[in-house]
Subunit: 308 residues, 2 copies
């Protein structure tokens, strides 16, 4: 088992027009900007509102990225659905387009699911996709999915699918769980679920982070990723934490979109698909003010925008 | 607002072959048998493993039922997905096929969702489907979906979409919640989420139940529905409770399928799609024994099977 992806990835936020349709131009631009900031594309994550998109919308959007010349080697699309058949469909599609890996939620409708059931699900997906170059990253996000990926499940998947199941994103927010994964499975690609744990994860053998706030603060997160062994590392971590703290006071996706709206000048960025809702104006203003006080910037974003 | 559907409905369990593909013949047969027992078809519910099916599988299966002459006037398909676009797609499709109503889960991936966000979601679906004869039944099942339908949300939907939002299935398992709905919204079609609350719900102005165990015990549940005002009602309720109690000891869908396997003699009935798993043999045997002791039967099931 060798993890092949590392560094900083963003679950890319999805821009919608006033009619709630996807704006592909704005999306491609945001992806380009993220790449320019050394940030990989974990498209179709929780913060992408991926589960608010249909399977066909997700496939079309991934094709758009590839057609626009964005490198699949920097992509880790989310492909885990509640249904086996749709997970297979999305995963096969991502592999065919050359995605370096896929980030796979467990099926999340039923609760209290056994490890045996989850093993069978991942197993069926892997066997049906049947691709030598499939690289699966498990997605542990119990606060949202409510269906955990346990250490026992990981162990069983690693035994059955070495070289295919190669890593995990741990969005439990529970450092002791991340640490247990790092200790139990050397060589397994453990990504922190946010930059909050980036320094800790790197010091303990992890490979990076996949973080919501990498949508807005990618370069500085990457700076910590590169310099985790430098004397500046603690200071860098503290600076990252301040920017993240400004956002976590609000519903995360709404806050990210509000920030991108401010720095890109593109007002439709604040749109979300129901059931999510945009930040109210007072919250958006308070967030913008706090970011100004932190001297926060999104360098190069407006230049990218002018190009569209 | 006038509820149009009433009585006993079953969230029809879905039969899978050994390769986990849907067995349409067995499915049509089970639906026919349910109708013969005075049970309506709430296809694509939680107990149908509907979220383990793709959108295209659900559409094809509903078309199969209609092509086989089963009456859409007795159908209430589940059409609520995480994504707005797929909920619209499935709902439009069900309306086009003539379904009497749809049972609509809230989008269930994100947790801690506001009533405003859920209102916008339902509102968008209703407006995009844009059909005069759409009848929406809300689906409140917080133990599984983890996203509740509050009284405040119902009130707002009823005000905005009278004649379209006409009822609810309350699978909270919390009688005080069902009672609050019955009291707050006279004329609103409140279905109990199981026959456990059927007598109570009928005595308080409800319209019936949509129950997992209606897959196996439909005629006797219907008997209580018809006779809730008779002196026998309490006895009937107690008898129903015993059959249900035999199943709720186990994961419900697995138990239902084990029972149908026994009484139909069709061994593939026990298959489930991952992440769900079949009952172990000792549990299946214990369940069968308990049902035998209760003199439980599924009259007519084998006759239906012979016809296929």
């Amino acid at each position: 088992m060798t993890n092949e992806l590392k560094g900083v990835f963003s679950p890319v936020v999805t821009p919608f027009g006033r009619d709630l349709s996807i704006n592909p131009g704005l999306y491609v631009d945001h992806c380009r900007w993220l790449l320019s900031q050394n940030c990989g594309l974990a498209v179709f994550g929780t913060n992408s509102e991926a589960n608010s998109l249909s399977v066909s919308e997700r496939k079309a959007l991934l094709e758009t990225l590839v057609e626009n010349g964005l490198p699949p080697s920097r992509m880790m699309p989310g492909t885990g659905c509640c249904s086996l058949t749709e997970s297979v469909d999305l995963t096969s599609h991502a592999v065919q387009l050359g995605a370096a890996g896929v980030l796979m939620l467990p099926p999340f409708y039923y609760k209290g699911i056994s490890d045996e059931g989850l093993f069978r699900h991942y197993s069926e997906v892997i066997q049906r996709v049947g691709a030598e170059r499939l690289r699966v990253y498990l997605y542990h996000i119990p606060p949202v999915a409510q269906v955990p990926i346990t250490l026992g499940l990981i162990e069983r998947l690693l035994r059955s699918y070495p070289g295919t199941v190669v890593g995990i994103k741990d969005s439990s927010g529970d450092w002791s769980n991340t640490k247990a994964m790092l200790d139990a499975f050397p060589g397994f690609g453990v990504f922190a679920g946010s930059e909050t744990f980036l320094l800790k994860v790197m010091r303990n053998g992890g490979v990076g982070c996949i973080s919501a706030t990498a949508n807005i603060n990618p370069a500085r997160i990457h700076e910590l990723y590169l310099n985790w062994q430098s004397p500046r590392a603690e200071t860098l971590q503290t600076e990252l934490d301040l920017v993240r703290a400004a956002h976590v006071k609000y519903p995360m996706i709404s806050a990210l979109k509000a920030t991108i709206e401010v720095f890109s000048g593109e007002s439709t960025w604040s749109n979300l698909r129901p059931p999510l809702t945009e930040l109210g104006k007072p919250d958006a203003r308070a967030l913008a003010l706090e970011l100004r006080n932190l001297r926060f910037e999104m360098p190069g974003l407006s230049i990218t925008r002018d190009r569209t």
